[in-house]
Each structure stands twice: as structure tokens, then as C-alpha cells.
């Protein structure tokens, strides 16, 4: 039943996941979803790439969500990612001042996505990373992965997750530097070069 009796913990069982389907495009994406960094912030980076299927074909209907800390490793607590105009109901976009840390981007017709966010700072023993959640038609349960940035080899070598991943696959979690603060991060759902996906327990 779908009225959960919380006094009986054995009844509190997870609601199953379902695919996002093909028709979320008019509902979930919002204006400025990809512009996460405050305007003109000196620690802004651009991350971009393709989401690819088992035949290497880009997905024109994938949804990428990003969640990450600020440049000092602090987790944002500000709301306002999808600010709305109370008069028209339209999306106002972010205010360009506060950092909410959350982005949501639909791949374009070429299967390409991009986001501008703050270069994440380190937290604890972890190398700096941005958390990623991928949704798509055909994907019955979303997929988690992480974007690590190249440069600090010592931090990457000491990262507890990266240490769990064997060498050739480890690189799928590390974006490629393209200069000017731009990084390439492709997400391969299946097949050669398949991205490492994560399960939290």
C-alpha cells in the first residue's frame, strides 16, 4: 500500500525508481541551470562533454545534474537555483551572487552538455570533485558519478574512491584539461571506456 505506516519500520520500504522518460524536457530543465558559478567569479571553471550510449552515439535526451562545494570546499546552503517570477511564473535565473552548488542541464540535440561552476575545493581526505547524477530515457535508475579535475596528482592518488578503481577505468572520473579553465568530461553509459558509476551504501 502506498500509505506508509511509519510505526512499523519493516513497512518503510523504498519507492522504486523509474526512468525519467523522453518527455521531461518541458518540466525539469530551468533557465540558467548550467550557470552555477556567481557571475564573474575568478574561480569559475567550464565543464562540458557528451553523454554516449553503448554504440558511442550521443544521447540527445539525457539530463545531467551537478552538485558540488565552493572553492573552499564548503557545501552550499543557499536556495534559489530555479528562482521564479511570482507575477509571470517564469524562471528568473539565478541572481548571479549566491552559489547554490546545484546545476541541471539537458543535453542538446548533439548530446552535448556544459556547465560553468566553481572549481570545487577539497573536503576531508577526498580530492576535490563535483558529484554528478545522470538521467535519461532508457535508464531505469539514475547513475551517480564524479568529476575530478586533473593537476594535483598527490591529491588524486590519495583519494579513497579513486584508490578503489583499477588504473584504466580511473581516468573516466578525471576530466581532461583544455585550457582557459575548461575541462572535458564525457559520460559513457556502456561499452569501451565505460564511465565508473557509484553506489552509496
Amino acid at each position: 500500500m502506498t500509505k506508509i505506516d511509519t510505526s512499523r519500520p519493516e513497512n518503510v520500504l523504498p519507492t522504486p525508481s523509474h526512468t525519467v522518460g523522453p518527455f521531461y524536457g518541458y518540466a525539469l530543465p530551468f533557465r540558467g541551470g548550467e550557470d552555477i558559478a556567481p557571475l564573474g567569479h575568478p574561480d569559475t571553471i567550464t565543464v562540458h562533454g557528451y553523454v554516449l550510449d553503448g554504440e558511442g552515439k550521443p544521447l540527445p535526451d539525457a539530463l545531467v545534474e551537478l552538485w558540488g562545494p565552493d572553492q573552499d570546499g564548503n557545501l552550499p546552503t543557499a536556495d534559489g537555483s530555479m528562482r521564479r517570477d511570482p507575477a509571470s511564473g517564469d524562471f528568473l535565473g539565478r541572481n548571479g551572487v549566491e552559489f547554490t552548488g546545484f546545476g541541471r542541464i539537458q543535453t542538446d540535440a548533439d548530446g552535448h552538455w556544459y556547465a560553468r561552476t566553481l572549481r570545487p575545493g577539497a573536503r576531508g581526505r577526498n580530492a576535490p570533485y563535483v558529484s554528478v547524477c545522470v538521467f535519461a530515457r532508457g535508464l531505469l535508475v539514475h547513475l551517480f558519478t564524479r568529476i575530478y579535475l586533473p593537476g594535483d596528482d598527490a591529491a588524486l592518488a590519495a583519494d579513497p574512491l579513486l584508490a578503489q578503481v583499477e588504473e584504466p577505468r580511473r581516468d573516466t572520473l578525471i576530466a581532461a584539461e583544455e585550457g582557459n579553465g575548461t575541462y572535458r568530461f564525457d559520460i559513457r553509459l556502456q561499452g569501451e571506456g565505460e564511465t565508473v558509476f557509484l553506489e552509496f551504501q
Partner: protein
């Protein structure tokens, strides 16, 4: 190769039998679909073949994924949870009220988090450009709603009953009526996108998306309950649907210590 409903039925039955056998052999109950589920043809090239890497969140409270984005009053408007009021005219269809609680695995309410829905109109048509089903669009219905869960974890939407619609997974494929839900928990690990169904829909056994949840009890949890106390006199029929978010969160860590 064009698959018929009979082909899909056979695949669904085989997946179900394989799951029953796994459980009989001692495998754990599966609350979620497997990403590799052949009857849903779009899944074939879109699921990873490598097993995911497990992260034990109890070992590291600093994980980014143990926190969640924040949403607030700025992110919604007053009528976002009433899909019947977003246009100048009234949408066509039976009005419904859909309400329930957002809970974590400990049965605790998830407060102040974003709940988003989208759905087809009463004729089974989405207001999406790529939608090719030739059922009529309703100029007074977009089919998108948002709200923020209250202090007891409750959400509430007013909308119209969505229609079933055809899709092209196989010949004569029809989706049972459903509302898509996207929800956030107190940790990003609890993120959930799913679909809510209505009781007694005759299309349930034919739908590979619903049947991808192979566990019978888990599948039942996707179906709302008619709730007369939620029905609004002279206005709408009420459905109750609680959502339990899976995935570890920080409160689990506190208990584990």
C-alpha cells in the same frame, strides 16, 4: 524486427521468473528495477555493464553526496502545485488531488525539499514538442507542478487525471496513466525520479516500464491509494501516495556511531 505485445509479455514473464529464482536462491529483494531490462528496449544500449563501485558513506562524513541542494520559497510560485490554475481557462478532465509524505528509510519526514511533477493531459498528450501522439493538446494544461515538502514531509498537488498514451516500444504499446515525480532528499544519495500510477489500471501487466520493477510488493508501492478524505467536495477526487527515499543519509551515520 517489430516486437509484438506477446513477445514483450514473454520477456516480462522470463525476467519475473528469473527474479523469483534469484530470491528463492537467497538473493536479496530488489526494490528497484535492474538497469538492464530487455523488455524496455531503450535500456539495451543505455545501461552500464560494469558493476558500480561501492562507497561506504559511514566512513566519511565529508562526502559531498551526503548533503543535498537547498530549495526555498524563491524556487516556486504560489500556484505551482495547482496545475489547474496555470492558464486562463480550466483544463479538461477529472480534477484530482494527489498528496502524501516524503519519508526516509527510517520513516522520518523529509522536510523542505523540492517535489516536481510532470504528466500528460487528460487525453494522454504531453505538452512536449517531440511528442507525436495525435491526441489533442489542451491550451489550459501544461502538466508541470512543483512544491516543497512541509514540516511533516507532506506534499500536495491539484491536477487532472492524466490519460494513458501509446508509445513505440513495441506494437500496441500503451503506458498506464501515471504522473512523473522528481524528488530530493536530505542527501544527494537519496535522489529519486519515479512515476505514480492509479489503482486498478488494466494496462499494468502489459507495461514493461512498470514491470521493470520485478518485485511484486515493490511494484505495489508505485500505485497510489484512493483516499476519500483527500477528495475535495464538489471539486476533486483524492489520491494518497507516500514516497520513501532510498540511499543512505547523514542520520544513518549518526545512528551507526
Amino acid at each position: 524486427m517489430t516486437l509484438t505485445q506477446a513477445d514483450i509479455d514473454a520477456e516480462i514473464a522470463a525476467e519475473h521468473a528469473a527474479y523469483e529464482k534469484r530470491v528463492a536462491d537467497g538473493a536479496p529483494v530488489e526494490h528497484h528495477p535492474r538497469r538492464d531490462y530487455a523488455p524496455y528496449s531503450s535500456s539495451v544500449l543505455r545501461h552500464p555493464k560494469q558493476p558500480p563501485i561501492a562507497i561506504d558513506v559511514t566512513k566519511d562524513p565529508e562526502l559531498v553526496e551526503l548533503s543535498s541542494p537547498a530549495f526555498g520559497e524563491r524556487d516556486i510560485t504560489e500556484i505551482d502545485n495547482d496545475l489547474t490554475r496555470q492558464h486562463t481557462g480550466e483544463p479538461i478532465g477529472e480534477r484530482i488531488t494527489v498528496s502524501g509524505r516524503l519519508l526516509d528509510r527510517n520513516g522520518r519526514p523529509v522536510r523542505g525539499q523540492l517535489v516536481e511533477i510532470w504528466q500528460a493531459n487528460s487525453a494522454g498528450r504531453y505538452a512536449h514538442q517531440r511528442e507525436q501522439h495525435d491526441a489533442p493538446l489542451d491550451p489550459n494544461f501544461t502538466g508541470v507542478g512543483r512544491t516543497i515538502s512541509d514540516d511533516d514531509g507532506f506534499y500536495r498537488f491539484t491536477t487532472v487525471q492524466p490519460g494513458p498514451y501509446p508509445w513505440r516500444n513495441h506494437v500496441n504499446a500503451w503506458r498506464p496513466a501515471h504522473i512523473h515525480f522528481s524528488v530530493f532528499g536530505s542527501a544527494f544519495t537519496q535522489r529519486l525520479v519515479t512515476q505514480m500510477y492509479f489503482p486498478n489500471d488494466p494496462l499494468f501487466p502489459y507495461d514493461p516500464i512498470l514491470q521493470s520493477v520485478t518485485d511484486d510488493a515493490a511494484r505495489q508501492r508505485l500505485i497510489a491509494t484512493y483516499d476519500h478524505s483527500l477528495s475535495v467536495p464538489e471539486f476533486s477526487l483524492g489520491y494518497h501516495w507516500d514516497i520513501v527515499l532510498d540511499g543512505p543519509n547523514a542520520t544513518w551515520i549518526e545512528e551507526g556511531r
